[in-house]
């Protein structure tokens, strides 16, 4: 018993050097219960000893699981439920969704309209809350964070590319990308440098000063992609990101995402209606009635 605890302590110490608070809680619980366990062992109360032994085991399992999340998963949704009221009728937009997405994966989410794919994307992307369940992003239990902490996670860990580009019309391509850096707290000089790099990466090195009105649909979406990846987020979400583009441009944009995925190991989660787009991804998650179907 003592051996296991020592080993756990060692792992936990390394682990606490990171940012995960819930794992810290698990570690504290294990230590607390271990001390109690030892004192109970000394009393020779068999019944209590057994009970405490089980609790300790549970705590250890919980800790091991959390550790696992951090090591392998970029984003995890656990039993996600989202209930919406529509004219007094409760609609289960998400009805117990579990999913794990590994670092560097490129995932497509498909399903008919109203199947809950966008709701899932919004929940994982922290722009909408869930009725119950947990969302982990990069090892952080994000669904339990206070509202005031969310903007920082959105700015640093998440990127969004929307169907209708959603660029700020008064700003140039460069300024649009710099905006994301401003919100993540980057300094002025750093903003320009990084934004220029990101725009070059998506092939718009010669269009930086253009405003969205002066760019084609495909170019606008490239600006949006540059904006989403400029903070090097853990995951980039794409909501029907080729929805307003012709086939040729759609393929170009998807090829760009694949290149970024390979070159930078960037994780992508893409909601799409288009089977061609889904085919280009490594894995497809299908949804129906707020659930993932095999």
């Amino acid at each position: 018993m003592a051996e296991i605890v020592l080993k756990l302590e060692k792992v936990t110490k390394t682990y606490i050097m990171g940012q995960n608070r819930s794992a810290g809680k698990a570690y504290n619980a294990i230590r607390k219960y271990h001390k109690k366990y030892e004192s109970i062992c000394a009393k020779n109360d068999e019944k209590l000893e057994k009970k405490m032994g089980k609790t300790l085991e549970r705590a250890q399992t919980a800790f091991a699981k959390e550790k696992y999340e951090l090591a392998y998963k970029t984003i995890t949704g656990k039993n996600l439920k989202k209930n919406l009221k529509d004219k007094g009728v409760v609609v289960h937009a998400l009805n117990g969704v579990d999913l794990e997405i590994k670092k560097g994966e490129m995932i497509a989410i498909m399903g008919p309209s109203g199947s809950g794919k966008s709701t899932l994307l919004n929940a994982l992307g922290l722009i909408d809350d869930v009725s119950s369940g947990k969302v982990y992003i990069d090892g952080i239990l994000a669904s339990k964070l206070k509202a005031g902490k969310l903007p920082e996670i959105r700015a640093k860990k998440l990127g969004f590319v929307f169907q209708s580009y959603n660029l700020i019309p008064t700003l140039s391509a460069l300024e649009n990308v710099m905006l994301a850096l401003r919100y993540s707290g980057a300094g002025r000089g750093e903003r320009r440098k990084k934004a220029e790099e990101a725009l070059k990466l998506v092939g718009l090195g010669d269009r930086m000063k253009h405003t969205p009105n002066e760019l084609s649909g495909g170019q606008r979406q490239r600006v949006a992609i540059a904006r989403s990846l400029v903070n090097e987020p853990a995951v980039i979400f794409g909501d029907e990101l080729t929805g307003e583009l012709d086939t040729k441009t759609s393929t170009e944009i998807m090829n760009l995402l694949i290149a970024l995925n390979k070159k930078k190991g960037q994780t992508f989660i893409i909601v799409t209606h288009n089977p061609e787009v889904a085919k280009m991804c490594q894995r497809t998650i299908r949804m129906r009635d707020g659930k993932i179907v095999k």
């Binding site: 903007p151 929307f162 700020i168 700003l171 300024e175 994301a180 903070n231």
Partner: protein, 387 residues
């Protein structure tokens, strides 16, 4: 910041109209405030002048019309307890007939006996020439506002009430009553008011016996207000005005008037405020989706709040600056036009102008609070759905 300025002019006409609304409000505040500031200074000058003395007039006099007294009243006043020094003092309008429109005190002729000058705390500085002495005949010292009116310079002869006077001194501008005063020797002033008297009075009096007021300086330790009451009770047919009487009659009336003036200006600004609220609410409803996008990519509530408050504040600042510019121009034009009559209505002080500018910015920001809070609290998902 650059983005905010660009945003302001996305709807050029709407922003321009809002800015114009604020500008008109601030213009009203500047112009009305200019009157209030002028009045304020006049009152302050009066308060300073009356601070340590009692002015005595005939009981039938009011603030604008003075009836004559004879110098022997001065002897009675001297006998009253607490009166340290009594000097006859004449004040009458520069022109025989009062001008129809007059703002503040009309241009006046003043002459006073010099016996009590050592007790006088209210000092006037000359920019040129010399002061009037008792022995001067046909000489005059002019207040700053009258210099323009008479195109005055030392040695020039001017005509007052049909008589020629030589200018011997010019006064420094005080922004208060002395600016519109022509000082002459007591003897000359006596002749002026004597001319105005009805023949029947003239037949019973000599010019050297008349005055239309006295200045009484109180003993050290005697309250001038109490002295005024004592003088009234012990000397017949006179009215004594102490510092408190001046405060009560003029300062408080002018104070109310000033409040009304500012009140009117502020009401006109309220209209401007409402138009900022309207403009900002419209802008925000048009930019709902953008706000959603900004929040989705990491903007904090305070980022959105600051952005829209800054925009509202800038509209206020721009409106304020234009309003102040136009107001100053208008005041300059009116003051220049009226300079020849020696009567300037407006006084623009730094505190008024800075106050108006700061007020316009604060107004913009306050008007922006509600729309900005609304924008910052929008749900991301709902905002993104907006078209």
């Amino acid at each position: 910041m650059f983005e905010i300025i660009k945003n302001m002019f996305r709807r050029k006409l709407r922003t321009a109209l809002t800015v114009f609304g604020i500008a008109i409000g601030i213009l009203a505040l500047v112009v009305m405030g200019g009157i209030a500031e002028k009045l304020d200074l006049l009152v302050k000058g009066g308060t300073d002048y009356y601070a340590d003395k009692v002015q005595v007039q005939s009981a039938e006099s009011n603030f604008f019309i003075t009836t004559p007294l004879t110098l022997d009243k001065g002897e009675e006043l001297k006998k009253v307890d607490g009166a340290k020094c009594v000097a006859a003092s004449i004040g009458t309008t520069l022109d025989k007939e009062l001008e129809a429109v007059n703002f503040g005190p009309p241009p006046l002729i003043q002459g006073r006996q010099t016996e009590c000058d050592q007790y006088e705390s209210f000092e006037i500085t000359l920019t040129d020439g010399r002061d009037i002495t008792d022995d001067d005949r046909g000489k005059v010292v002019l207040g700053a506002d009258l210099i323009k009116k008479f195109e005055a310079e030392i040695g020039k002869e001017i005509e007052i009430r049909g008589k020629k006077y030589e200018i011997v001194g010019l006064m420094e501008k005080t922004f208060t009553a002395p600016d519109s005063v022509a000082l002459m020797s007591f003897h000359d002033a006596q002749l002026v008011i004597y001319e105005d008297l009805p023949e029947i009075v003239k037949s019973q009096l000599k010019a050297t016996e008349v005055t239309n007021g006295f200045i009484v300086n109180p003993d050290n330790g005697t309250d001038p207000n109490e002295l005024a009451r004592t003088l009234e009770s012990e000397v017949k047919d006179i009215k004594a005005v102490g510092p408190k009487d001046f405060e009560d009659s003029i300062a408080s009336t002018v104070g109310t008037f000033t409040s009304i003036i500012y009140g009117i200006a502020i009401i006109s600004l309220l209209v401007g405020t409402l138009s900022i609220i309207n403009t900002m609410t419209m802008s925000i409803s048009e930019r709902t989706k953008e706000i959603g996008v900004k929040k989705a990519i990491g903007a904090k509530t305070q980022d959105i709040l600051i952005e829209y408050l800054t925009e509202a504040g800038l509209i206020g600042l721009l409106g304020g600056a234009i309003g102040i510019g136009l107001g100053t121009l208008l005041v300059y034009v009116i003051n220049s036009a009226m300079e020849k009559t020696g009567d300037k209505i407006f006084l623009l002080t730094p505190r008024l102008l800075w106050g108006a500018l700061i007020f316009s910015v604060v107004l913009g920001v306050v008007a922006g609070i509600y729309p900005a809070l609304h924008a910052a609290r929008l749900s991301i998902v709902k905002s993104l759905r907006e078209e």
